[in-house]
Subunit: 235 residues, 2 copies
């Protein structure tokens, strides 16, 4: 276990999927003065180009450590991201905001944050950053501010570090109340190279984005509304 | 996804390690009228005989489903259960109750409960049983009632089922306030075959228990105080 003295830079663990949001979140953590540790998850997702993007993004930010945790959520089934269910395409804003999408993976962020918490405790970090966002993509319950606050409370009850200091853990969700356009603007200001990121749920065999799934549509709208051009190439 | 009608037996997901506590917890869930679904975790533990015991215990209770989730927590390090750190032996009660033991795995129950939650949502269960216990083994922060209550709150914020019904999830910890002797008495009353269970942190290559690690000592004391004989054989 690495014990850090108070004179060392504070360590943050950042959940990095390789998408636009987590890249921006890394930039926020760096901007706040943290030394960065990235954690990614190989959970049987069909859009595996995410993991390559996560490695590129982590490298771009010069993280101190980057680990990828294998988790076989396919045993559960129940989601278009892991099952052989078609990813929905070309949905309107109304359709996207109508209920919880089929791409919802049960308890995904809870599983991811739990693993991040375990690793953070081992490396002596007290700050965890997650790029959840409740505005543009409000269909996921585990992207809401009340969810993040509840996980922070849990973390302080769950761990040795929390027993020693009831306010040890802080779960940061710097994008939670931003629109996708605001996220793109913030990341651009903080120097994110969005060409390294990957958002598509259903890329072709070369990793090129489809431009039609919910994630691509939100991303493209975000860049357009920000008055910027998405550097990723589409099919 | 399996949708259950209200006339079907209610499904419970029970965390099953193969130890004495989780076997008793299965008995409690059965006694409460639930149909049982068992989830075990292969997290790189050195005491792998646990997993064989989990399969035997689940079979004994005639569970509807039993899945084992692989989770590679060894990437984290930081615990005697997963690292090459010696398991402490022959500690006194005072030593065992003095702080958090080296066998603590960071965020373990949080990771396990998160995965159980995801699976429970997929199979249509609303009840999760975990055999944590705050009395005899108070060193683990994630075995306390306030921790269990906090996870229940999180579950109801984290999931689609919780969005639809804010009181959907119930996390049951039927052993949380029992002594080890009371657990053994309860399980015996409910018909648990404790010869199938495995508690030792450091068994020999035949799976025989050491009789000297914290877990063996607590188990042996529990049977003795209950006036019962432990059917497991020791080295």
């Amino acid at each position: 276990m690495t014990e850090l003295s108070s004179t060392e830079t504070r360590q943050a663990v950042v959940l990095v999927s390789g998408g636009l949001d987590s890249a921006t979140t890394l930039a926020c953590a760096r901007d706040a003065g943290f030394e960065l540790n990235a954690i990614s998850f190989d959970y049987g997702q069909r859009h595996r180009f995410e993991l390559e993007a996560a490695a590129k993004v982590a490298s771009f930010f010069g993280v101190r450590r980057h680990i990828t945790c294998p988790i076989d959520l396919r045993a559960f089934g129940g989601s278009a991201l892991t099952d052989e269910i078609d990813v929905p395409k070309d949905r309107s804003d109304d359709e996207m905001s109508d209920g919880i999408p089929i791409t919802y993976v049960p308890a995904r962020n809870t599983v991811f944050l739990s693993l991040a918490l375990g690793w953070a405790e081992v490396i002596g970090a007290a700050d965890i950053f997650i790029g959840v966002n409740a505005v543009d993509y409000s269909g996921y319950p585990d992207c809401r501010p009340e969810y993040v606050a509840s996980f922070q409370n849990l973390a302080n009850l769950a761990t040795k570090a929390g027993v020693e200091n009831a306010n040890h853990w802080v779960i940061h969700a710097p994008l939670v109340s931003l629109t996708k356009a605001e996220i793109v603007q913030l990341g651009t200001k903080l120097g994110v190279d969005y060409s390294l990121t990957h958002s598509c749920y259903d890329p072709d065999s070369d990793g090129q984005s489809c431009g039609h799934c919910d994630s691509c549509l939100l991303r493209l709208t975000g860049f357009a509304e920000a008055g910027l051009t998405d550097p990723v190439t589409y099919q």
